[in-house]
Symmetry: C2
Subunit: 333 residues, 2 copies
């Protein structure tokens, strides 16, 4: 029997269609294998192929834009938004528009072409998170920006155009709809109950345990109650905190460890799946600290989104989160 | 320079990224070619392979569930929701769920395997629309249902699991989020201006003409001002009407003619693209007649939706609607 479930944050309903239930082996899985590429612009030694670096970890004091780094942040060569110019909001009759002011940066996670977040050690993954934190703190000084998106596309099926492991950061002059829905939902919960809805979720999931995937002292990985996608996974900090860029170093270190663990579990159970990783954090200019709670969402690319989903914003998921959590809990890594 | 644009109904922002602009030839197009299939359950003569028909057009008085039809409506053999049972709404601590009560039907649009909405004559397309109208009118007598989704996936890349041309209909016990956002946005516009936002869009697009694709006496096809996807196309009735199932026959006849025309333009310009087609209509139990306005959305499958879109509900579209409209206006059919 299928079931309709409601996400407690956004109010979004999903159908968990267990009659059509699938096991990991039933998906047409597309494994991400990284082929060598001598012309990869993100590899060490190819720094001249990218725009100049905005930030780099260079333990040995090597000069900028040459070899010797463990991580580099560069502007995206094909940015969807540009930093230069004045934000110009205009009407066009009924319609509203503004020019494409923003920032679009790339965190190159390793100098080596074949590394991934699942194979890097926890220290290197922590470096990636710390670099995102530093870039967000720098970008938010620009008062034109209202929201920072940190995301990663792993594998061509998940939208990656380059194989070399990288994370992207986009600063936006508006708060996008998904973030707005989460913030509004969290505010409504807080107004009704004087509690953070994400803290409530953490409390219930830890008592229930059926949707727990893995945890450590500071972070908890769960299959959400109303997942849009098979094997959708959230990692939440135990400590209530609205903005990822205000997270203490030990929270990011704990996230790095748990993130590597979860990605290795997915690699085992789902055979090196493509995935999207997103950091959901609060809008940078709104006082939402009491009720918003930053977190990470990981969505393996296992199914196609079709007309039904576009029509309705209503997702059809053939795998119950209790089953997905068990598969990932049991995965040997 | 890219541009941020806001949809006047839902308030959803999109980035029109014209610096990365692509022409139709730049997409990795996947043409939909329908291969013969002797075991297709939707072909005439194979009626025994499907559940019994709920409705059929049989001009010659042929008996049910045998040959002699021009259109058949059947229950989906693998429904995501089932009609049987009592709707049972439950809490689970913080979470809300209900059992999967609903209906899931399939309109087989032609007895012939190779037909599509683009190759069928206008009379046959009108039959499809009329069958949807009849089924919705029947299903809405069931007071458990609050929303009816009518949608079509054309081609495997758009999520179709069978090649034989068909439309699906799902009756839901809730109003899904996309419909809720449109209804709420239309209500807010009406409260501010005492006008239907869709009527306002029609008026502006007809005066402006840059985003007009095609029109006839009753229907207008436009590239929306803030499209999520390249070549996204809306067809709106000139006559204000909230519910598709209350549309008069000549509106559906006019839609059938314009829909065939638009799909043939897409087939020429985009080389037989996969697509999703959706009918957006009002929730069946809410009095929204003053401000909601039913319409059709057609979304060719040309790009992959990646992490950025999931993260934000914020779409990145490499083709300006003014350019898409011109390509489709100029397409020879």
């Amino acid at each position: 029997m299928s079931e309709l479930r409601k996400d407690p944050v956004t109010g979004r309903w999903v159908i968990i269609s267990t009659e059509r239930r699938k096991r990991p082996g039933d998906f047409r899985l597309e494994s991400v294998e990284i082929a060598p590429d001598d012309s990869c612009p993100f590899c060490e030694g190819h720094e001249g192929m990218t725009p100049g670096e905005l930030l780099a970890w260079r333990g040995n004091g090597s000069p900028a834009n040459g070899p010797g780094w463990t991580l580099r942040v560069i502007p995206n060569q094909f940015p969807v938004l540009r930093v230069e110019g004045t934000l110009d909001r205009q009407g066009e009759g009924l319609f509203d528009k503004m020019n494409g002011i923003g920032a679009h940066e790339v965190v190159i996670e390793s100098p080596r072409h074949g590394d991934t977040l699942a194979t890097l050690d926890a220290g290197a993954v922590e470096q990636v998170l710390w670099a995102c934190r530093e870039r967000v703190q720098d970008l938010k000084r620009d008062r034109r920006f209202r929201y920072m998106i940190i995301f990663k596309n792993h594998g061509a099926a998940a939208g990656a155009s380059l194989d070399h492991s990288h994370t992207q950061l986009i600063a936006l002059p508006i708060v996008p709809r998904e973030a707005r829905d989460e913030v509004d939902g969290a505010r409504a919960h807080y107004q009704a109950k004087e509690r953070c809805v994400f803290c409530d979720i953490l409390r219930q999931e830890q008592a229930d345990r059926r949707r727990l995937i893995a945890e450590n002292a500071d972070m908890v990985a769960v299959a959400p109650y109303a997942p849009r996608f098979p094997f959708e996974t959230w990692i939440l900090p135990r400590r209530h905190q609205a903005l990822v860029e205000e997270a203490p170093r030990h929270d990011l270190a704990a996230l790095a460890r748990l993130l590597g663990d979860v990605l290795r579990r997915m690699n085992t159970a789902l055979r090196l799946p493509p995935y999207n990783l997103l950091i959901h954090s609060a809008p940078v200019v709104e006082p939402v600290g009491d009720y918003y709670h930053w977190h990470v969402e990981i969505i393996p690319t296992l199914t196609k989104v079709a007309g039904f989903e576009w029509a309705t914003g209503f997702y059809l998921n053939p795998v119950a989160p209790e089953e997905a959590a068990q598969v990932l809990r049991d995965a040997r890594v």
